[in-house]
């Protein structure tokens, strides 16, 4: 566990991809089986155990630390695992030094615990161990100088009673223990009178196994023991692991790259066998290290890493690209999925629906799984179709993230895939073929399949970039018809490019439609989390609304927390601090009104009705487009601007979908 914690700690501070890769490779090359396999599972999101709930962690801390202090700390640090790691009372403290009766009670609850924060000898303050403080020369000033009408009182009269000599003595007694932990160091002189067995540092395998097999009610005791045994870094890593929030700047892809590199394999080679494997991946490590056969994949419906596009820069990119070399198609506003099918050894059809990141989401889409009667892999967009009409993303959202997939849900939100590409067919890997050829194969494949839930994404023909710009601006005019509202832009694909996993620059471009824009006024700001934990980075903004009694007021319509650079964030943060009118915990109310306030130009993709917002509307994907330092707040937009967009979107919601708060 300590090696893994150390790795995560190093990774967390390492910004460079190649350096991260080196750290990972170094770890995988040196860590033993099965420890490294569990680490790989943790970093690729493939650990399955009963995750420790944040509430349980909080409960453990609050039994040891004043809950108010903990809440304030959590709010400041912005991360439960780190807060807990830092605030967890240090145990294994030496006994109280003689002559000092009171326990240290700076954590509130922990005071009564025999393992509470103890007093110890700080090596840097214990008089015998540290060099004496230099007696700094203090020249004697002119006492009783008339400058301040002061009168010197002659001899130094020590108000504190004991004089400066008091300080070292107190330091000696009261400083928090920072000596090496008793038991770990094996130095018996350190934990004076310490009789407990040495703390047991758990292995990763042990942590995973315990979480899998232990009764839920016993879990808190195990976790508390681990936290007692580990140091700050270890506690942090453990908590990240067991709460399932291991975000340390390492993608599954990078971890697989590092594993592959152990034996000179590309990440994609690992990816190809990946979905048939189980942690702790003994076979995988044996293979990459040349000690074993390539793992045979038992899964006939594999995930293939998808090919992704780059946003096009209208200013510079078009000049360099030849329209004749590209094929155009709509970019549908759904979620990118992969349909993979095949027959297992028993001849049974296996069907899988994967998200773009390789997550198996078959369980949530039984209606799509039924359509996978083929052997092959289709890359496409998941959409909701009603009476052959593509519904907006608002509608699709109501199908996503549902715990139970009920017949009613399936009926009201029928899933559909609009196919973009064909990666494999009948055991043949089509990815090396040029796009144009794959497209021809796809057309034949979909036609032969002839299933109502799977159709082709139509191509958009164009001769010049201007043609394409027109199509993008008004998809309805070039064949998209009533589905136009579900189109978020156009895709450009190089006709002769193979299907390359990842995001290669050049072959695929996306050109999104212009977002909606609204000028809103900043009303509240909240401190961010993670990287931005101490900056006021989340802004609630409002637009003007007529007041029934006359005049107008700002009403909040949304919240945005990106779209600005770090330099702009620093300026916004400063603005918030200098214009705070009220504080509510992590939230500050910012001065705003007809005469004051900061205008933010907000870009967004759509509007929905909302009962959670006072204004009755909620924006989709709002972000700060520009900061209008120049614009007076009184000139910001009115709520009518959003209601117009909303009225357009609402036509799409079918009668079956109940929209709360809808009056018309």
């Amino acid at each position: 566990m300590n090696d893994f914690a150390h790795l995560l700690d190093r990774l967390a501070y390492e910004p460079r991809r190649n350096a991260k890769l080196r750290l990972l490779q170094d770890y995988f090359a040196h860590a033993p089986d099965p420890e490294r396999g569990w680490a790989l599972a943790a970093m690729t999101g493939n650990l399955s155990f009963r995750e420790a709930k944040p509430a349980m962690i909080r409960g453990l801390v609050e039994a040891r630390v004043d809950p108010v202090l903990f809440a304030l700390s959590h709010n400041y640090v912005g991360d439960l695992a780190e807060t807990t790691a830092l605030i967890w009372p240090v145990s294994a403290a030496p006994p109280l030094p003689a002559g000092r009766g009171e326990g240290r009670d700076d954590l509130g609850v922990g005071a009564a615990s025999p393992q509470g924060e103890g007093e110890g000898v700080s090596p840097d303050e214990a008089p015998p161990a540290s060099p004496p403080h230099p007696r700094l020369p203090q020249s004697r000033g002119q006492r009783g100088s008339p400058l301040l009408e002061g009168e010197g009182q002659g001899e130094v009269r020590d108000l504190s009673g004991d004089g400066p000599h008091l300080t070292p003595a107190l330091s000696f007694q009261e400083r928090e223990p920072v000596a090496p932990r008793a038991g770990l160091s094996g130095d018996p002189s350190i934990g004076l009178g310490h009789n407990n067995p040495p703390p047991h540092i758990p292995t990763l395998a042990e942590v995973v196994d315990t979480l899998r097999t232990t009764k839920k009610s016993d879990l808190p005791f195990h976790i508390a023991d681990w936290l007692d045994a580990l140091d700050e870094t270890g506690r942090w890593a453990l908590l990240k692991l067991i709460t399932g929030a291991l975000r340390v700047g390492v993608s599954a892809r990078l971890a697989k790259t590092a594993v592959g590199a152990l034996g000179g394999h590309e990440a994609d080679a690992v990816e190809e066998v990946w979905h048939g494997l189980e942690p702790p991946y003994l076979g995988l490590f044996a293979w990459v290290e040349g000690r074993g056969e390539r793992p045979t994949t038992l899964n006939p419906a594999l995930f293939r890493p998808p090919m992704l596009s780059h946003p096009i820069d209208e200013e510079t990119d078009f000049d360099k690209l030849d329209p004749a070399a590209f094929s155009g198609e709509w970019k549908w506003d759904g979620i990118r999925v992969q349909l993979s099918g095949g027959r297992d050894e028993a001849g049974e059809q296996v069907a899988r629906v994967y998200s773009r990141t390789g997550e198996d989401i078959t369980g949530a889409f039984p209606d799509l799984a039924e359509a996978i009667t083929f052997t092959g892999t289709i890359d496409g967009e998941l959409l909701i179709l009603r009476e052959s009409r593509v519904q907006s993303f608002n509608v699709l959202q109501q199908r996503l993230n549902r715990k139970a997939v009920t017949p009613k849900l399936l009926e009201e939100f029928p899933a559909h895939v609009r196919a973009y590409d064909l990666l494999t067919a009948e055991g043949e890997d089509l990815r090396p073929l040029p796009f144009a050829e794959r497209r021809a194969r796809l057309e034949g494949f979909v036609a032969a399949l002839d299933h109502a839930r799977i159709d082709l994404s139509p191509l958009v023909s164009f001769a010049t970039w201007d043609d394409l710009a027109e199509a993008r601006a008004d998809p309805a005019s070039v064949g998209a018809g009533e589905d136009a509202d579900a189109i978020e832009g156009v895709m450009l694909k190089l006709r002769d490019s193979p299907y390359l996993p990842g995001r290669p620059k050049g072959p695929w471009w996306k050109w999104k439609r212009e977002p909606h824009l609204v000028d809103a006024v900043m009303m509240y700001a909240q401190r961010g989390h993670g990287k931005r934990s101490s900056f006021y980075s989340d802004y609630t903004f409002g637009v003007w609304r007529e007041r029934p009694e006359g005049g107008r007021e700002l009403v909040p319509v949304g919240k945005a927390y990106h779209g600005f650079t770090d330099a702009e964030l620093a300026k916004l943060d400063r603005y918030v601090r200098n214009n705070t009118t009220k504080r509510f915990g992590p939230v500050r109310e910012v001065a705003c009104g007809l005469d004051e306030g900061l205008v933010l130009e907000i870009a967004f993709e759509g509007v929905q009705r909302s009962t959670r917002h006072k204004s009755g509307v909620a924006m989709r994907f709002p972000r700060v487009h520009r900061i209008r330092w120049d614009k007076p707040a009184a000139e910001a937009d009115r709520i009518e601007a959003l209601e117009t967009i909303l009225a357009r979107g609402e036509r799409e919601i079918a009668p079956g979908a109940v929209i709360e708060g809808e009056t018309s």
Binding site: D66, H133, R143, E149, G161
Partner: protein, 354 residues
């Protein structure tokens, strides 16, 4: 007590004010008469009429602002009582930076101690904090949350030296405040046995020179020569935190970015600063030390000037000590941003830095 603490010290726009003595303490605006706890720019500003501070603080102010930083100055000798109007004041060491002092203000048997910024941890570059019993203790709370438990500075310095040993080809650029932190890091490096030159950014030169004049041995501390930067393989270079973001720091061989600051205790903060090698070294009291200091003063009432005051005020409540936040603006910038912003003039250009 016929006199209440609130009569002894009040809050004005300029900061804490003693009406009976007719002076401010660490005012953030120019005032006729100011008592200054220490030389950091958020506490010691130029432009006051008369200034009373320790000799070292006065000399620090003169180095930073020029000899004419105020109209008239008077040196306060540590431990000596000085009568000002109807009150008696006494300066006692605060352990924060060279010359830093707490100021005890007393009248009619009531004593208020303005601690300024202070710490209890070991610092070879200044006198240790002295506990002054009082009725009202005015404390900072820069690190006033229990997550701030500062580690042993020896281990932090060892991290730096280990990294230098591991990457002898890379320069190690350590961001540290030019007054106090930088010299403390130098002194700790010397105590750890590091005897190579410690290279300094130009903005730290004068203050480091002053420390040496005041009797703090810091060894060989040459200024970085702009044209020589590329040759400083394996060197330790100290610079103001702001210079780390500057192109100035990019001209060193494959630099390792480090910061010496209490803020490095929190990962997100360290990452925000772009620290690859965070050194948790603080010149402020950590949480356990704030708590024990309050207890040791025996104060029945605590006022919190700036920082994370909520937690400390709450803790005082659980200890039966009356406490209130003063929400003072201008100190440590709300306790969240790096005080470096006001502490050092920005490094304008490559040339200025060299």
């Amino acid at each position: 007590m016929s006199l209440r603490a609130g009569d002894l010290l009040t809050q004005t726009r300029e900061g804490l004010y003693c009406p009976l003595g007719g002076f401010h303490v660490d005012p953030t605006w120019p005032v006729p008469r100011a008592l200054i706890t220490h030389g950091h720019a958020d506490h010691a500003r130029a432009g006051h009429g008369k200034v009373l501070a320790t000799g070292q603080t006065l000399r620090i102010m003169a180095v930073r602002y020029g000899e004419d930083f105020c109209e008239a100055r008077q040196e306060a000798v540590l431990g000596e009582e000085i009568r000002i109007g109807d009150v008696t004041v006494r300066f006692a060491p605060a352990g924060h930076v060279l010359g830093s002092a707490q100021i005890a203000i007393q009248a009619q048997g009531v004593r208020v101690v303005v601690s300024g910024d202070y710490k209890r941890a070991y610092d070879p570059t200044c006198l240790p904090f002295e506990v002054v019993p009082c009725d009202v203790f005015i404390t900072e709370a820069t690190f006033g949350l229990p997550v701030f438990r500062m580690p042993d500075t020896k281990d932090e310095v060892k991290k730096l030296l280990d990294s230098v040993a591991l990457f002898p080809e890379r320069a190690h650029i350590v961001g540290a405040y030019a007054l106090g932190k930088a010299q403390r890091v130098m002194a700790l490096l010397r105590e750890a046995g590091y005897d190579q030159p410690i290279y300094l950014h130009g903005a730290m030169e004068k203050l480091t020179e002053l420390y040496k004049q005041e009797g703090i041995p810091l060894g060989d501390t040459p200024k970085v020569v702009a044209t020589e930067r590329g040759k400083l393989h394996g060197a330790i270079v100290l610079c103001p935190p702001s210079a780390i973001q500057d192109v100035w720091s990019r001209k060193f061989p494959d630099p390792v970015t480090s910061f010496a600051s209490g803020w490095m205790r929190v990962r997100a903060r360290a990452r925000q600063k772009g620290a690859e090698l965070p050194l948790v070294i603080s010149d402020h009291s950590d949480w356990p030390d704030l708590c024990r200091t309050i207890r040791e003063t025996g104060a029945g009432e605590v006022w919190v000037t700036h920082g994370q005051e909520d937690a400390l005020v709450h803790w005082c409540g659980t200890q039966g000590i009356a406490a209130k936040p003063l929400h003072m603006l201008g100190y440590g910038d709300d306790g969240e941003a790096e005080p470096a912003a006001v502490e050092e003039p920005p490094v304008v250009s490559d040339e200025a830095a060299a």
